[in-house]
Symmetry: C2
Subunit: 388 residues, 2 copies
DNA sequence: GGGGCTTTGTTCTTGACACATACAAAAGTG
DNA sequence: CACTTTTGTATGTGTCAAGAACAAAGCCCC
C-alpha cells in the first residue's frame, strides 16, 4: 500500500513533512522493520540531515527520541528576478530567508548583467549569513516570462530582451557548482504559497494580480507547466472589454481591463495621479470611491474567469497575491462572490479562496522551496547516500 | 536517473508501452543487469504476461528475442453506463473489445436493476468470447455523473435517482472477485481517446459535446479529478446567453445554449422536427442551413471557452467527441478557428485539435483501459509476483 | 569460408540489504 | 519492586540483484 517511502530519502521526506517524528513513527508509516529504520536514520544522522531533539513523552513505555529535519544542514540561494526589480535570498532548508537583498536592476539589462549582479550579491549575502559557498545545496530562480524548466532557459520572453534561449542554469552552475532550478516567477510564487500552506492541497491555484495578471497551478501535487511551459497565463484570456487592446496586441485581454496597470491608466484618465499599480492601491486605501469602484469591478471580472477555472479544475485552495491583493477585503470579497455564484455547487463545496500569506516574499520562498524540493527529494538523497 | 522501472511490473510497462521490445532494451532502459532482466522476464513469461515472438534482425551480433505483451493473458469487463442506454464489452488486455452489447435500460432504473443487468450480460459476453469468469482481471465502469473514484461510489448525481452513495464497486466485486474501477463517463472517454493515441500527450483534453457538454482532463499523464471529483465540468460554465436558464437552474450555462439538447430545442422552435441531438446531426448532414448555422455558432461558443482553458492549461492535444462532433468538418473548424485566434501564441504552438477516433467506442475503450492500467500497473504486477 | 568481433542471453557466485529475533534501555503500572 | 509496554540496537539469515564468465548466434573482413 505504502508507495516507495522505503528509501532513505523517503524517510527524510516523512520527517520534513511532519508526518513522522520518531523512529517508531517511521517504522509504522513505512512498514519497515525497526532495525532497518534505525540503520537508515543513522545514515541520515551522520550526514547531519537529521538531528535528535530530545525525547517525547512516554505513552507507557520507553520514551521515543524525537527526530528533527536539520534545517541548517545547508542553505539554498533564491532569486526572484522581476521586470523592474529583483529580490535575492540565502535561505535555510525550510525556505526561511537568513539574509535577503533587493536590487533595482531591470531584467532588460540582459542576462549577463543581471546574473552577474545576482552572483555578486549572493556572495555578500552568504557572508552576512555566516555561510560558505560550500554550504549551498541548490539554487532556485524565478524569471518574469516563460521558461523551459527542464533546460533552465527563458523562451521567447515578451519583456526580456536578450534572454531568449539564454542558459540561466549553466551561467549559475558556473559560479556555484550545485543544481540550478529555473521557472516562471508566478509558478515560483505558487510554490511558495503552497509550501507556506504545508503543501496540504493537491490542487492549488495561485493568482497574481499586479501590473499584469498571471497564475501558477499546482495540480495533483505537482506544478503544472503545460506542453510549452505556458500554462497559467490567464492575463491574456479574452474576457474583458473587447474594445480595449492589450499590450500583447489582442483585444479584450483580462489584464488589459483588470490588471493594475490598466486600472492606473483608467484612473489617470479620470484625472488621478496614478502611474503604477501601487498608486492605485494607495488611492483605494485612502478610501477614494472611484478607485474602490474600479478595483471592485476588476475583482468581479477576475472572479468571472476564476469561476470558469474552478469549474474546469475543481481546486481545493485558491490564493490571491500581487499588489492588488493588498487593497483590502473588498477586492477579495468581489472575487469570492462571483466565483461562488458562478461555479457549480460541487466544485465549490470545499473551495477556499484567501489572500496571500507571504506577500512579497512568495517569490523567494518559492524559489528556495523549489531548490530544496529538488536537492532533498527522495531520489536525490538516495543518490547521495549511495555515493557516501 | 531512471525512476523505479526496476521492478517486474516496471518491465512489463515498458513492453506494453512499446518502449522496449527485447531483454537488451530493458537492460538499457532500466540500467538493470542483463541477468536481472532475464530473471524478471522469465517470471513474466511463466505468468504468461509476456510471450516470445520470434527474433529481431541482428545489428551485428546475436539477434535479440522479441518480447510481446500477451494481450490474451486475460480479459477485462468494461461498462459505459449512459443516461438512456449503456454499452458493455469484454475486452482483451489492449482494450480491444472481443464482444460487446448494448442495452436500453435507463440509468434511472436504479443501481440494482442496471448493475444486475450488466452482470447477466457480462456472463453472456464472456461465453460469446469463449472466456471464463476466471479470465477476468478487472472491471472498469463509467457512470453519467460525479463519482468518488477512490471508493467507487456515485456522489450527488443530478440525473441518477437512487444512485447517490451507492457502492458500485462492492456490487460488482460481489459477482466478480476482481478489482473494480469506477469513474465519470467523460473521464472514461478521455482515457479511451488518450489510450488510442498511445498516451503520447501528457496534457490532454477530451471534450464531449452531446446533449450536454463535458470534458475529461489528463494532466501530467494522470486523470485530473479535482478536489471533489468535479473537474472537467465545463457544461455549466457561464459563457452563453445569460437570458437562457439551464436545467441546472443557473443562467447562461454553456450547454444551455450550445449543447445538443439546446440546439434541438432551438431548431424545434423554428419549426423543425428535432427532439434530440441526433435529429440535429441529421439535419446538418442533410445540409439544412439553419441547423448548420446553429452548430457553427455552438462551435464558436465552445471554442471561446476552450480558448480560456488552453490559456490556463496549455495542453498538447484536444479531442472533440460526442454526437455533435459527427456533424462534419464545419463544427470542428469553428472550434479551431476561435481557439487559435483567442489563445496565446505560445500555448497553441504545438496544440492539435482533432475529432474523436473512437466515437461511440471511447467509453468502453476507456473503461477497459482504466481496468487494465490498474490490474497491470507496476505495483499490482509486483504484488502478484510477490505472492506467486 | 573461417576466424574474429559483436550482440544477446544464461548460469553461477558474491555481496548488499532488509527482516526477524533476541536483547537492552527506559519509562509506566500495580 | 517485579512486570509490562514502548522504543531503540545488535546479530544471524535469506532474498535478490549485480557482475563475471560462459554460451549462442549472427555479422564482417581478409
Amino acid at each position: 500500500m505504502a508507495v516507495s517511502s522505503h528509501t532513505p530519502g523517503g524517510l527524510l521526506k516523512l520527517i520534513r513533512d511532519g508526518a513522522a517524528a520518531t523512529r517508531a513513527d517511521l517504522a509504522g508509516l513505512t512498514g519497515l522493520a525497526r532495525s532497518t529504520v534505525s540503520q537508515r536514520v543513522d545514515a541520515l544522522l551522520t550526514d547531519r540531515l537529521l538531528i535528535e531533539a530530545g525525547e517525547a513523552p512516554s505513552s507507557g513505555g520507553r520514551p521515543p527520541t524525537l527526530l528533527k529535519f536539520n534545517q541548517d544542514a545547508g542553505v539554498v540561494l533564491a532569486a526572484d528576478l522581476g521586470a523592474s526589480h529583483s529580490r535575492l535570498a540565502v535561505s535555510n532548508l525550510r525556505a526561511e530567508p537568513l539574509a535577503t537583498c533587493r536590487g533595482q536592476l531591470p531584467i532588460s539589462a540582459g542576462p549577463e548583467a543581471v546574473l552577474s549582479w545576482a552572483v555578486d550579491e549572493f556572495a555578500k549575502l552568504l557572508a552576512d549569513a555566516g555561510k560558505a559557498a560550500s554550504d549551498v545545496k541548490a539554487i532556485g530562480v524565478g524569471l518574469p516570462g516563460p521558461v523551459e524548466h527542464s533546460t533552465g532557459r527563458a523562451i521567447s520572453p515578451p519583456i526580456m530582451p536578450g534572454w531568449d534561449g539564454y542558459d540561466v542554469k549553466a551561467r549559475l552552475a558556473e559560479s556555484f557548482d550545485v543544481p540550478v532550478l529555473v521557472d516562471n516567477d508566478v509558478n515560483i510564487m505558487a510554490l511558495g504559497e503552497w509550501w507556506a500552506s504545508s503543501n496540504s492541497a493537491d490542487d492549488f491555484l495561485y493568482i497574481k494580480v499586479g501590473t499584469g495578471i498571471g497564475s501558477g497551478l499546482i495540480l495533483g501535487g505537482h506544478l503544472h507547466r503545460g506542453a510549452d511551459g505556458a500554462a497559467g497565463d490567464i492575463g491574456h484570456i479574452q474576457a474583458g472589454d473587447p474594445s480595449v487592446v492589450c499590450r500583447c496586441g489582442n483585444p479584450g485581454c483580462l489584464e488589459a481591463s483588470s490588471g493594475g496597470g490598466a486600472l492606473a491608466q483608467a484612473l489617470a484618465s479620470q484625472g488621478y495621479d496614478t502611474a503604477v499599480t501601487s498608486d492605485v492601491v494607495q488611492l483605494v486605501r485612502a478610501g477614494n470611491p472611484d478607485a474602490i469602484r474600479a478595483v471592485q469591478e476588476a475583482g468581479r471580472e477576475i472572479g468571472s474567469v476564476l469561476a470558469t477555472i474552478v469549474n474546469v479544475l475543481n481546486p481545493l485552495d485558491i490564493v490571491i497575491g500581487g499588489d492588488l491583493a493588498d487593497t483590502g477585503a473588498e477586492f477579495l470579497a468581489r472575487i469570492r462572490e462571483v466565483v461562488y455564484r458562478r461555479s457549480t455547487a460541487l466544485s465549490t463545496r470545499q473551495l477556499s479562496i484567501r489572500a496571500s500569506e507571504l506577500g512579497d516574499n512568495a517569490g523567494i520562498t518559492g524559489a528556495a522551496a523549489m531548490a530544496i524540493e529538488h536537492a532533498f527529494s527522495p531520489s536525490a538523497v538516495n543518490e547521495r547516500a549511495g555515493v557516501g
